[in-house]
Subunit: 112 residues, 2 copies
Amino acid sequence: MLNGDGCPSKILAIKDAVEAVHGRWKLQIVLSLGTGGKRFNEISKEVGGITDKMLSKELKALEANKLIQREVIDGFPPVVAYSMTPHGASLQKLMESLYQWGMEHRKEVIGK
Amino acid sequence: MLNGDGCPSKILAIKDAVEAVHGRWKLQIVLSLGTGGKRFNEISKEVGGITDKMLSKELKALEANKLIQREVIDGFPPVVAYSMTPHGASLQKLMESLYQWGMEHRKEVIGK
């Protein structure tokens, strides 16, 4: 990859992957849903500091990116639950690679 | 990772990794240097559309992040060359993972 050609379609694919997890909240929402489907308020509690407006915006973006799915569970009142899609679950391996490299990077740059 | 705990230090490491490659130009500069050390103008030619001011800013950031190194080669006039550090070269595996997942993601979301 690094010593291959920097052809546009490769760069585009890498950029799309980085964009899918970039940003202050996406990672934390994905990690929260990684432990199982949750309701809006449950996610909100786990992702400290996020406003309801921001959480609903981020959930919509993750849904549009097919990383999570939204389900209305019948009841009185009906309940909305969010969970990872199979595509979303495929983030597991990528996040592991990001985590490993990130730890190395922190050691290299800030020494811890 | 996904179904593990979303503990702050893990999130921080992932965020640092994403930040190190996020942005319009960093990837293209890294891919350019991935094929061997280069001078400023050579990088500028390969990374289409970048201004000199932006390129020098991005090179400084990549240097501060210890991903590239800057070397002054004696001569008349002296020449400045940039190359990947060993830490920078370690991006190879991460970018491969980003590329693979990015291709899947593009197929899933836009069908190509």
